[in-house]
Amino acid sequence: MNQLLSFVRKEFLHVLRDRKTLLILFGLPIVQILLFGFALTNEVRNANIAIIDDAHDVASRKIIGMVSASGSFRVREVQGGHASIEELFRNSGVKLIVLFPANFNNDLMHTQHARVQIIADASDPNTASTLTTYVSAIIADYQKSTVQSTALPFAINTQVRMLYNPQLKGAPNFVPGVMALVLMLVCVMMTSIAIVREKELGTMEILLVSPFRPILVIVAKVVPYLLLSLVNVATILVLSTYVLDLPVQGSVLLLFGVSTIFILTSLALGLLISTITNSQQSAMLFSMMGMLLPTIMFSGFMFPIENMPIPLQVISNVVPARWYYTIVKAVMIKGLGITSIWRELLVLVGMTVVLVVISVRKFKVRLA
């Protein structure tokens, strides 16, 4: 026990003495939670919309007024000529063009039928379909307002309530996601690199020939990182409560407990990577280049998992961040207790055990 403590102390000194790394390790979650908590959103805002109004009549002016007043876009009117459409998309960052043909109001009043054309820059399908939906809804509103004078009978109304996030902000979705991403990658990188580094520098050899049991060498290495990551969890939660206005709805204690398990899973993954690589470079390529994008994409905070093809949905199950993200959403945003998250928790525990067993098996006491 005493031996273990002195080893833990050695590792702590290693970590604490490297000021630059320490600065990054603590600074990284702070900067990223703040930056991403405020900046990231799936919503389509401030998009440039161009309107070509060949009609210049009451109806078209009214609709243009409604589109401008909605506040979701930057609206700009341009003079017609179809040749300029290509130009608009290419040079001026316009995402959508609304075209009113000549005699728009006239057609509407006399033939009861008028046409509006909407052309979207669909290179980004999300923006294109969202903007088309918005603008169509505004036109439909206008149409409704023209017939509203005669109240319709048998009206079914709806009352919509937005649960958990009434202002539809981006943060409730992204904060748990960024939390999972940062914790996971930092832990995996730290452990894998710290162990491989000792191999590379040759000091691992010295540790392994000491009477100290190899498994405890590993345990001692992991302890400082566990504590450091818990400090990071605390920082993230404080920032999200006081700066992002996103308090923990459920039990903070539970959240910490779950985070500890997730951190252990990530540390175990780092351990596994360290046993199969023998240079810091390849450890890093594995843990950063190999894991950054898959973690972002398969944890479900960017792209809904249920939209993916089945084989990829299966793959997403082995990404620990996916389970942690679900748990954090449940505890932090929805305020649920352990009864609703025990399955996810069990998966994380299972993963940790499997990872540790494999790494211990693979761990070589003799370095070839």
Binding site: S129, M289, L292
Partner: protein
């Protein structure tokens, strides 16, 4: 010139001798490019709805049928109480609750109006908004259908109709792959270039071999060039493989000029390498270099418009994205591949990235000291 050639020989030999790294550099990006774009789909579909039917009338049944028949919604359950439905929302088994009040059908005729309650899980605001909007549309349609059945059509005057003709330019089938593949490729090339260059000089520092170079008459710029050119070549190799994957696996043929893409890639990799080398000259250990590189890569990917549009960010965040080289490469890739933009459309991108490259590389050369 001869000196640089010798340095290049040394660097290339080092790269080719380390087969593990070489394999990782070539395989990891290709694997990700083949798999990941399939997972990227923002389209809001598969919304699961849970219906709380207190009415159990013919009318409520028909409403439920028209919702499930619309194709947008999957019916999770019909539960007897709101409480049960809420449990489904909590367990992520349902996205949306529709509550039909008791006596809905009869009261609609009696009072001439009725209200339905919708509750949406709004953690993902966009999905919530669209889900509610779709459901509202379906209810409105159902409503109109009812009216036309219950009322003599003659009581209505002809209603004027505005027809909306929507056209999706450049990507008529709204395919996400067309959008994501060029972006992900841009990012993978960035990662390869940034990580390798960030680790390189510092690796020589850590193993002490840099001393040997420092005592030779090799000039600083020669040393940096010797470090840079091999990674430049590697970056372009990865880019080329990626372009092939894009062509062969996804069948995406760039609308614009491939030559233009390559010339931009050359300039871009130059500036990313400058950044990596700069990190490398500052760091003392590989570990430090890695964490610094990781820090920037994380910010670059999130603020680069790969997944969420930079236009939607608040003004101060958009300012930050202007200093993000990845943003420019992703934009150029998408513009040239999807829209067929020409040099004239992207000259601003060219200039900015080239400027960044000069600045970063210049700084790296200045900061590299032969004396410690």
């Amino acid at each position: 010139m001869r000196t640089i050639l010798f340095l290049l020989r040394k660097e290339f030999r080092q790269i080719f001798r380390n087969v593990t790294i070489l394999r990782l550099i070539l395989i990891l990006p290709v694997m990700q490019l083949v798999i990941l774009p399939n997972a990227a789909n923002f389209e809001v579909k598969n919304i699961t709805v849970c219906i709380v039917d207190h009415d159990h009338s013919v009318g409520s049944q028909r409403l439920v049928t028209s919702i499930t028949a619309s194709g947008y919604f999957k019916l999770a359950h019909v539960t007897p109480s709101y409480h049960d439905a809420m449990a489904l929302i909590e367990a992520d088994k349902a996205d949306l609750i529709l509550e039909i009040p008791q006596g809905f059908d009869r009261a609609l005729i009696r009072d001439n109006k009725q209200t339905l309650f919708i509750a949406v899980n709004a953690i993902n605001g966009v999905k919530a908004n669209l889900g509610a909007a779709y459901l509202n549309t379906i209810i409105t349609q159902y409503n109109a259908q009812l009216r036309s059945q219950w009322i003599q059509p003659a009581r209505f005057g002809p209603v004027s109709r505005i027809e909306i003709a929507a056209l999706n330019k450049y990507n008529p089938y709204l395919s996400y792959k067309v959008y994501m593949v060029p972006g992900i490729l841009a990012f993978l090339v960035t990662m390869v270039a940034a990580y390798l260059s960030a680790l390189n000089i510092v690796k020589e520092k850590e193993s002490g071999t840099i001393e040997q170079i420092n005592v030779t008459p090799i000039r600083k710029y020669q040393f940096i060039l010797g470090k840079m050119i091999p990674f430049w070549v590697l970056g372009l190799v990865v880019f080329t493989i990626g372009m092939l994957v894009m062509r062969l696996v996804y069948g995406i043929v760039p609308e614009g000029s491939v030559l233009l893409l390559y010339s931009f890639a050359v300039v871009y990799i130059f500036s990313v390498l400058g950044m990596g080398l700069l990190v490398s000259t500052y760091a003392e250990t590989q570990q430090q270099a890695m964490f610094v590189a990781f820090f920037f890569i994380m910010i670059f990917i999130m603020m680069g418009g790969l997944f969420t549009s930079t236009d939607s960010m608040p003004a101060w965040a958009q300012m930050i994205t202007r200093f993000n080289p990845v943003r420019y490469f992703i934009e150029v890739m998408r513009m040239v591949v999807i829209r067929g933009s020409t040099f004239d459309d992207i000259k601003y991108h060219f200039l900015t990235v080239f400027g960044m490259g000069i600045f970063l590389n210049g700084w790296a050369v200045l900061n590299y000291r032969k004396t410690s």
